[in-house]
């Protein structure tokens, strides 16, 4: 009697918990190296030198007093878990961004750096 109950419970649990777990990672790669920023001197370095060091930008934006070159790379980590009745899906996308600001003479005025791509994590929705 007790053995049958155990078997029944085991069968129900295994049936309900049967499922699948998938994890995946996407990377949009842009080979810029932020350690090269030391070579830049705002007020002196021009757009050509920036592109020689960092390569072609992901995007160029026209601004009111010049332009901005945007370098961006992305990491996305996804987790999907299928159970019998429940499915959990989670994805996190984070970017590394490097933005250079140039004046109307294409001379570097400012730059900003954010390195967040490593913060992307696998997980479950909270």
């Amino acid at each position: 009697m007790r053995v049958k109950l155990y078997i029944l419970t085991f069968l129900m649990i295994t049936t309900l918990l049967s499922g699948c777990l998938v994890i995946g990672k996407n990377k949009e790669f842009q080979p810029f190296d932020s350690t090269e920023l030391g070579q830049l001197v705002p007020g002196q370095t021009d757009a050509t030198e920036v592109t020689e060091i960092f390569g072609a930008p992901s995007k160029v934006v026209e601004l009111a007093n010049g332009s901005a070159y945007v370098y961006k790379r992305t990491v996305t980590k996804g987790t999907i878990c299928w159970l019998v009745l429940l499915t959990f899906g989670n994805a996190e996308k984070q970017h590394d961004r490097l933005v250079f600001f140039f004046d109307l003479e294409d001379t570097l005025t400012h730059y900003g750096l954010s390195l967040d791509a490593d913060k992307a994590e696998y997980g479950f929705p909270d």
Binding site: T15, L63, V84, F88, N90, A91, H95, V99, D126
Partner: protein
């Protein structure tokens, strides 16, 4: 009353479990893009803070744009939540149609910090919207846009 388990009962439970696998499913999905947007109020003073100071505090913006005679920098985080329920009766083996019904709700919320700089690279105005502070169900089902 004795609790009796016979093979017919066990078979029925297994059959119901197997059928349920195709009958009712509930999905919970979350998608996040971007890092948390933190607004350092002391470091962002309209009429005083320079572009250089803003970049050193906040890092590179997610979006850059020209707005009239000003430059706009946007720091943004997007949060998507989706709940979906599907109820169906897998009868395609018996007849050539499947009976199913599904309902879902998707809510995308944005935390956005917008900074406007004039041509002298001084912060002219700023605005912050914290979409993530609005609860999922209440925000999704309210008539307010």
């Amino acid at each position: 009353m004795d609790f009796r388990i016979n093979s017919l009962f066990v078979s029925m439970v297994i059959l119901i479990n197997v059928l349920l696998a195709g009958c009712v499913t509930y999905q919970i999905s979350k998608y996040v893009e971007g890092d948390e947007v933190v607004v350092p109020q002391e470091e962002l003073v309209v009429g005083k803070t320079t572009l250089e100071e803003a970049l050193s505090v906040l890092g590179a913006p997610d979006k850059v744009a020209k707005v009239g005679l000003e430059n706009l920098l946007v720091y943004e985080r997007a949060l998507l939540y989706r709940n979906r329920i599907k109820v169906g009766i897998p009868v395609s083996e018996l007849i050539r149609v499947n009976l199913s019904m599904a309902g879902y709700g998707t809510l995308v919320r944005y935390d956005s910090l917008a900074l406007f700089f004039n041509t002298e690279s001084i912060l002219s105005h700023k605005t912050f919207a914290e979409g993530s502070s609005h609860p999922y169900f209440k925000t999704l089902f309210t008539d307010k846009q």
